[in-house]
């Protein structure tokens, strides 16, 4: 076991998988000598050479699209898009090629690939270095979507994503890249997709989050516990598939739920969870499911922190739910 931060866990996992399986290759802007702008592939160019760590031209369509063809031809590409905000020039490749290849070919061709996306705000990045586009991916049949919040989960889920036979969008909360370290298993370690992780057991309110916002959600839970309120915190980790079982079980048991996500509110991914909860376990609800999210604005620069669903906003929503 080593103490690693999030981005170190990514590097370690890429290294582990590349050593294990010669089909795994990396591609993206600056992933070579530079090791990626976040240094997620640091050292791998030296170790595996330019054939397996490929600096691409500045084109996300080329990155995502080439990954599709590499995967269809038998490689296991892990593509890095420098910021999740820059997936859009490659969006057509993701939704029209990667997501639909298996379906349109009746299973004759498929694309076992990973697209890594440093995502989320809180880094003074303004609107093109802070966005949370996960809803677009979750709403695209054929993709799988993962958004871990801790180094160990990053390893476990990236391992699974690389070995998965379907295209996986792997989102990484960049503001947590170097925020903290934790024990990350050295050897073989795979976490299945579709399993939420209970971050805290509790009975008064269920807090559900994923990615970067898990940090604030846990802080809010800490504050609540000081007030004598016991929060049950679920970290979804995987958004497609998402762990309906764990969510419904916890919410049905507790009756009160607050959903936390950085993405803009309207039609964001947590709306799906709220809709599913009310569709399936309406009668167990003691209060309306509440959402605490990013605002329906482009991600601002000056108000970087205000945009995020911070501890105060989460606590206010919890109060609303408790006092209902």
């Amino acid at each position: 076991m080593a103490q690693l931060n999030f981005v170190q866990a990514i590097t370690h996992t890429l290294d582990f998988e590349m050593a294990r399986d010669p089909r795994v290759v990396l591609l993206g802007e600056d992933v070579g000598k530079r090791g990626g702008v976040f240094l997620a592939s640091q050292g791998l160019f030296d170790r595996y050479g330019p054939d397996r760590v490929i600096d691409t031209p500045l084109s996300e369509a080329a990155i995502v699209g080439a990954a599709v063809g590499m995967a269809a031809h038998g490689l296991r590409p892990v593509a890095e898009v420098q910021f999740s905000d820059y997936i859009y020039p490659g969006f057509d490749q993701l939704v029209s090629q990667a997501a639909k290849l298996r379906y349109r070919s009746g299973g004759q061709f498929f694309a076992p690939m990973v697209v890594r996306l440093p995502a989320g705000g809180g880094v003074k990045g303004g609107h093109h270095h802070s966005q949370n586009p996960e809803t677009h991916f979750v709403h695209t049949p054929g993709l799988k979507v993962v958004y871990p919040s801790s180094p160990a989960d990053a390893k476990g889920l990236l391992t699974t994503a690389i070995r998965d036979d379907d295209p996986v969008v792997f989102m990484e909360p960049k503001r947590l890249y170097r925020a903290f370290k934790e024990e990350v298993p050295d050897g073989e370690y795979a976490v299945p997709l579709g399993q939420a992780r209970v971050r805290l057991e509790g009975d008064d309110v269920v807090l559900i989050s994923y990615g970067g916002s898990v940090a604030e959600t846990l802080m809010a839970a800490g504050a609540l516990s000081e007030q004598g309120v016991s929060a049950h915190v679920l970290d979804l980790r995987s958004l497609l598939p998402w762990d309906k079982g764990a969510v419904l079980e916890a919410v049905a048991r507790v009756g009160r739920v607050v959903l936390v996500s950085e993405a803009p509110k309207t039609a964001g991914f947590v709306s799906e969870i709220a809709a599913t909860i009310s569709e399936e376990i309406l009668d167990t609800l003691l209060a309306p499911p509440a959402r605490v999210t990013g605002f329906d604005t482009p991600y601002p620069y000056a108000q970087d922190r205000a945009y995020l669903p911070g501890v105060n906003r989460i606590l206010r929503a919890v109060q609303g739910v408790l006092n209902y």
């Binding site: 599709v68 298996r102 299973g107 598939p241």
Partner: protein, 362 residues
Amino acid sequence: MIQETHLFKPFDKPLSLVTDAGVWNAPFELDLPDETLLNMYRDLVLSRLLDEQLGKLQRLGKTSFVAPNAGHEGAHVGVAYALRAGFDWLFPYYRDHGLVLALGVPLREVFGQTLATRADPNKGRQMPAHPGSGALNVFTAASPIASHLPPAVGAALSMKLRGTGQVAVATFGEGATSEGDFHAAMNFAGVQGAPIVFVCENNGYAISVALRKQSGSETIAAKAYAYGMPGYTVDGMDALACYYVMQDAVAHAREGRGPVLVELLVYRYGAHSSADDDSAYRPREEVAAWRRRDPLGRFRRFLEARGLWEEVQERGLRDELGRTLSAALAEAEAAGSVPTEWLFDDVYAEVPDTLLEQRESL
């Protein structure tokens, strides 16, 4: 065969090897056995007959859509014969029935795809004119124009990295060259020296939009310069010119000398598709003029001039192919239509719970 001197230069004439009258007119000797020449002709005719047959099916209401190929056959056969079928990978577009047929995709599968029966290895998932064959490395066509080009480059890179000796060939219309994906693919291939041949079937129109509104360059081949690769412009109504240029381009790629762009000047005789009426945007005389340059007629005159073909063989061939087509169509129909439940398969490697639920709700 085609020397470096034929490398595209701006304002070059398109390369042609057989005259309209059917006379071999190249700076080198023809080196194809008679049998191959006869097979090529057979494939030219088969493609034309298939096209007519599909048109009929559409008019009868048996299929929803057709993208006519007539006028592209010379290009199709030339490209197909330059590839190692089942070894190299083809990334076709929707106007490539002639090409996939000549490469070996069974007629039955083409009809199966057209009618969405179980005879379609792609399981009836897409509109007609979207062929694909896992067995033959024909990457199932997708509708978004040029979107198959970055994947084609990716496959080519995989071939290079693993030293498989394969080549990727991707076809597309001249309209496709306007999409960002064309650019992204060409550029990445150029930088990496990927073993891929980009083949533009330039028929002068993208639905109604004529070439001069599509592209500012004199030719499509000229665009190769922007990516540091050679570009050729070829008379696409001359199947043998297409074949020889493609053979060189494929060899170039296979030998590790990087990608090539080949522009084949063709014409589509019919409307863009069964949903189009081309009379609004194309003068009838233009269509007639191109029909006089028909790739089938030229190839037939060429065979006749070499003493390889006569009227009686022509009739025999057409009869035989007619029967082949009917039999394949019957087989494809007999396979039966695609079941509704298949709707939920192949979204993922395994059908997830959400889709099992949704299947129940049907």
